[in-house]
């Protein structure tokens, strides 16, 4: 499914709207960290590399033409940044896939270090468990609707076909599911 909202946010960033980039970070931070965790086991390192990834992406945003989806693009930057990180740590030569131009632009990673706390990581793990639990407690129709959307990536029209209900009902079910889960996690995120 085409992420039209991402295209709109990218357009805004390219017009000088930095706040639009905040929304992209908030949307993709979890996925990028999970991706980096496949390369780096240490949670602190993963967060550092993810931050580096987003800053690189911002700096390269002017050259992003939308030939691929924003997520695919930042996914690539994240992988290259993680590989770069591993290569520099083990003092091995860098991988030839690494985007040197992008990597050279990044200079400020040290300022981001030493800000993570074990408590923060524990909290994020608890957040994950709470969301999973809240999802399990949802009424069947709400759970099916949000799972078809988030896990299977179906559009609202496709979900309406699958669940044999109007699109308006799908909108409502997904919203209600999100609200129900959000209620449970709001206190955790404070």
């Amino acid at each position: 499914m085409v992420e039209v909202i991402d295209e709109e946010l990218v357009r805004r960033v390219q017009k000088g709207d930095k706040k639009a980039f905040d929304l992209l970070v908030l949307k993709y931070q979890g996925r990028i960290i999970q991706l980096i965790n496949r390369y780096v086991r240490d949670a602190h390192e993963a967060q550092d590399i993810a931050q580096e990834t987003f800053i690189k992406a911002y700096r390269a945003m002017a050259s992003f033409r939308g030939d691929s989806a924003f997520y695919t693009w930042i996914y690539r930057i994240a992988i290259n940044t993680a590989k770069n990180h591993l290569a520099s740590r083990s003092r091995r030569p860098t991988d030839d896939e690494i985007e040197v131009e992008v990597a050279e632009q990044f200079e400020g990673e040290s300022s981001l270090r030493d800000q993570e706390t074990p408590e923060g990581i524990l909290l994020s793990e608890e957040l994950g468990r709470t969301i999973q639990l809240a999802l399990d407690e949802l009424p069947g129709e709400l759970r099916t609707a949000i799972t078809l959307r988030e896990m299977d990536g179906l559009s609202y029209d496709e979900i309406a076909d699958v669940m044999d209900c109007p699109v308006g009902t799908v909108r409502s079910r997904i919203f209600r599911a999100r609200e129900a889960i959000d209620k449970k996690i709001k206190s955790l995120t404070g």
Binding site: L9, D22, Q29, R31, Q34, N37, F64, G120, G128, T189
Partner: protein
């Protein structure tokens, strides 16, 4: 939560899934960017999706992750990207394709015309030679010399222009076949 807040959050939920209802989504995005509560909800909705996709607790972003990135971005120069050029390569490609097709068509016309011209000359020359043989039998050397002259003209012209049709390798054969009785 007021009805208006609820409506805003529902529209945001739809916006996240790229499901637009035709209303002014630009204003909605402006509202999300500037309203801290909506922004926090945007982040939590995204986290919900992340957990559902990973089917496990997984590693979530630190609570202040986005704030820290935002602080660094705030120090960065503002991006003013050049105008989008995405469509340009395709346009160039199609122009090149049209140009190539036009060139090939022109070559085909020239070559075809050249071949036709040769065929016509050859046909005329063959006819002339046959005709001149008949006339020679009837009128003697005078007519024969005239026919020889015409046939020579044809061979010279053919020799000069045959390469245009890519048939240079045929020339010796043409010369042998086209030679007159006295050659």
């Amino acid at each position: 939560m007021t009805d208006q807040e609820k409506d805003l959050r529902m529209r945001m939920s739809m916006l996240m899934d790229s499901d637009f209802d035709g209303r002014d989504n630009h204003r909605l995005i402006d509202a999300i960017e500037s309203d801290a509560e909506l922004k926090a909800t945007w982040a939590r909705y995204s986290q919900i999706g992340d957990v559902i996709r990973s089917s496990a607790s997984g590693q979530m972003a630190d609570k202040n992750f986005a704030t820290k990135v935002s602080a660094v971005i705030a120090q960065e120069p503002t991006i003013l990207a050049p105008k989008k050029l995405k469509a340009l390569p395709n346009k160039r490609l199609s122009m090149a394709t049209i140009g190539l097709a036009a060139s090939l068509a022109m070559v085909a016309v020239i070559v075809g015309k050249s071949v036709n011209d040769h065929a016509e000359v050859f046909h005329t020359a063959s006819y002339s030679q046959t005709h001149s043989n008949l006339m020679a039998a009837k009128y003697g050397n005078q007519v024969e010399n005239q026919a020889d002259s015409q046939f020579n003209d044809y061979l010279v012209m053919h020799n000069e222009t045959a390469y245009m049709a890519g048939s240079a390798a045929m020339l010796p054969y043409v010369r042998v076949v086209g030679s007159g009785p006295g050659r």
